[in-house]
Symmetry: C2
Subunit: 225 residues, 2 copies
DNA sequence: AAAGCAAATATTGTCGACAATAAGACTAAA
DNA sequence: TTTAGTCTTATTGTCGACAATATTTGCTTT
């Protein structure tokens, strides 16, 4: 899935932001490692001004942590952090679902249903390939969030937490056997939205994310605490 | 109340951020007006580099909106925006309450109770003065949020939404007759937290914020849609 | 007179260099 | 040998100037 809601990268800071974002999420720049401005500037062949702009935005989406006069470090993944993140997502995406049930246009709901059908066929063809599943999952969530029509909520979920969620998924190797089950859950959520049952949509989405969290936690235990 | 959770302003960008933040919140820089980097740089007597750093953070807390190559504007207040903001606050601070009921130490709860008692006496002395009430209200909410111990939640509420909430309150002239009632509601929330009843604390906080929202909306209607 | 185009102007984005602060290396004393 | 302090080095914060983009102004054309 192409990163959502992001304006076309018109400026140099935009471009380098996308590159560094990808590098961090995929572990190309190691979690916990120090960020050197001169080094990155050389590596991406631009001056420090746009680079610092990019770093400011990386801090915004919690991918790095900056200390004044001391520099930036890539965020460290932790069980505690994962828990906090999913705790928040449960509540926020639940709210998004409730609002989506109120605000999504019938046409948008129809499109979302079409998307799910498409995921189903894709899933059958590409059985086991995690990338498509992940992209599909995120795409579904993404559309529901947009359907809430709450600008602040959209900003938080799509801009500020989205990449961190991806980072946890990628670096913990989330491919898992949850594919088909997640698909059914999506379907149920969509039905609730289509029935304009915000309360049920909220509940189902919270459960969906809680299940996803437990799944990741299980992987964490296997890898090592 | 001193602005919370903000590191001591060590850098020039920090200082100018605080100044501009205050200016925007209090309407000293008009809502909807254009931000001129050269003008502000001259006004605060520094170069554009730290100023732009400050602008990036102002965008982060939704006080300005930037368009690439076209500049920044102070955010415009709207009924729609207010509704979205309070919708989100309801959910988030409800969650914060629930978590606070789980995670706050007994000592923290005791301190919070002391704070409320102090508010009560202050309120009796300074009957009608809005500043103290607002500060007290925000301080109570602030402590509960910190009590949640969820770093992402704290960041969103205290860093990203806090100043915008203040902006609505200040510019819509929120002093209102809700003082004593809000105080009672705080007391009830605290009791729920002290009883470790997260569910009730959640519910009460949501109602508290909903009441606050309705109060502001009433003011909005009086002023003009 | 109105609309569309073109030059001029102003603003934002980027750059390289300097200043201020923090991290690291080295020396000296216990 | 360890520890404290100082000096060196490297990194971040800030500056002023230049390049690229958007806005405004004025002119031309219908």
């Amino acid at each position: 899935m192409q990163t959502p809601l992001i304006r076309p990268a018109v400026t140099a800071a935009d471009r380098v932001l996308l590159e560094i974002q990808r590098a961090i999420v995929e572990g190309d720049i190691a979690a916990g490692s120090k960020i050197s401005e001169p080094e990155l500037a050389k590596r991406f062949d631009l001056s420090r001004a746009p680079l610092r702009e990019a770093l400011a935005r990386l801090e915004r989406c919690h991918l790095i942590e900056r200390i004044p006069n001391a520099g930036a470090r890539v965020v460290k993944l932790s069980t505690q952090g994962l828990l906090s993140l999913y705790q928040l997502r449960e509540t926020l995406e639940g709210l998004a679902c409730r609002l989506a049930a109120e605000h999504m246009a019938d046409s948008e709901i129809a499109e979302l249903r079409a998307l799910l059908d498409q995921h189903l066929s894709t899933q059958r063809v590409r059985e086991g390939e995690s990338y498509y599943q992940e992209a599909g999952d995120l795409d579904f969530h993404y559309r529901v969030i947009l359907g809430s029509k709450n600008a602040y909520l959209i900003n938080i979920l799509c801009d500020e937490l989205y990449h961190l969620v991806r980072m946890y998924r990628v670096q913990l190797g989330m491919n898992g056997p949850r594919v088909s089950r997640a698909f059914d859950e999506h379907k149920a959520i969509l039905n609730a939205i289509a029935n304009r049952d915000g309360e049920l949509a909220d509940l189902l989405m919270r459960r969906h994310i809680a299940a996803s969290r437990r799944n990741i936690e299980k992987q964490l235990e296997q890898t090592g605490t």
